[in-house]
């Protein structure tokens, strides 16, 4: 075993050295500047894939591979998430035992607001995601919270995403040091290598979007949450953002954290903010 971990450390440092050389100019200033980060992030992908239309990035792997795009468009004629969408609409209209509905918990009755989630809650001093807000709405009305990785939550977020389709992602970072810290924490999580595979989210979604890991084509990180929740053929079922984070972790052999832990909320905040301006395309269908 000694040899194996030594091998790992060797490859780790080699990768670091190689990457330090190739990464663009390294600025010393450690001040958190989300606006500059978002601009750099988007330009990285616009320059790396000049032929991909900017709003097409939200279609994940289908913006990277023509053959898969054709298969996707065929499926979109009658997409497999139709059932989740209808179920979500029905749940949204069904009052809780106390007579209230989800519409009472959300601005504008929960219609057409998905593009503003997640937001930074200054009272709580933390990021609040759509999935978290839905469960808090349930608990505030005396109902049991839903699992973050199962169908009910996916149906609710599918309906809310559908009502925002086409609206540009619009995430705000208030002038509050805790919000900047949450953004930075999400960025750190996104670039940190984990699991025995020693991958970070960036290893796949920044270094090699468009390439294959076995049958699947990797999606670009830009706009990667815009199509959420997604019906995945792999799961033959719906998946929320929480389910996607948890399964990505276990694929790199990292033990997943609890859904909606701070790291997940912050990385969702970071990924959504840098996708500002790109359209919401959820619910989506993916391999």
């Amino acid at each position: 075993m000694k040899t194996r971990s030594a091998l790992l450390l060797g490859s780790l440092s080699a990768a670091l050295a190689a990457f330090a050389l190739t990464s663009p100019r390294v600025i010393a200033a450690d001040k958190v500047d989300p606006v500059a980060d978002a601009k750099a992030f988007q330009n990285f992908f616009f320059q790396k894939f000049p032929e991909v239309k900017h709003e097409d990035f939200v279609n994940g792997p289908y913006s990277m591979n023509a053959d898969m795009k054709r298969q996707w468009q065929e499926k979109e004629e009658f997409p497999p998430y139709e059932f989740a969408l209808d179920a979500g609409k029905e749940m949204f209209a069904t009052p809780f035992k106390n007579g209230k509905t989800y519409a009472d918990c959300f601005p504008n009755g929960g219609v057409g607001i998905r593009q503003n989630y997640p937001y930074f809650d200054e009272k709580e001093g933390k990021v609040v995601t759509l999935e978290l807000a839905l469960n808090r709405c349930r608990e505030a009305n005396g109902e049991q919270p839903y699992s973050y990785v199962k169908d009910e939550m996916a149906s609710l977020t599918a309906y809310m995403a559908f009502t925002s389709r086409g609206k540009p992602m619009e995430i705000r970072i208030p002038d509050d040091p805790r919000a900047l810290a949450a953004f930075e924490n999400g960025k750190r999580y996104f670039y940190t290598r984990r699991g025995q595979m020693n991958f970070s989210c960036a290893s796949c979604h920044v270094q090699s979007p468009g390439e294959r890991i076995r049958a699947e084509v990797l999606a670009p990180a830009l706009g990667i949450l815009n199509a959420m929740p997604i019906y995945r053929s792999e799961w033959s079922g719906m998946g929320t953002i929480s389910r996607r984070f948890v399964t990505c972790n276990s694929q790199t052999r990292a033990v997943p954290l609890e859904p909606q832990s701070d790291e997940y909320r912050d990385v969702e905040y970071f990924l959504s903010y840098v996708a500002n301006g790109l359209p919401i395309s959820g619910p989506g269908a993916r391999p």
Binding site: E77, F78, P80, E82, F83
Partner: protein, 103 residues
Amino acid sequence: MASSIRVRATSNGDITEVQALIQHPMDTGLVKDPKGEVIPAHYIQQLTFECNGKDVFVADWGTAVSKDPYVKFSFKGAKKGDDLKISWTDNKGASDTTTAKIA
């Protein structure tokens, strides 16, 4: 509960294009559940599309048809407003039917 059959029938000229998506597990009977027990076969065997009293299209399905099955075909001889009756039966004898107006 809404019917398990979602159907879209649109006619232009004499040709009516029909798309159907059906909510069904389509279990092959060859897959094990997490506890290791075999999930018994449960799949739609026959799906019939009937219009103006005639079976225009009949599908015989095996275990290799995807979960939440989808099918698309077109046929002549019907016009806007005609009724299209869709019904399926599966290997457990369950069935469902729905009627859609051709748009």
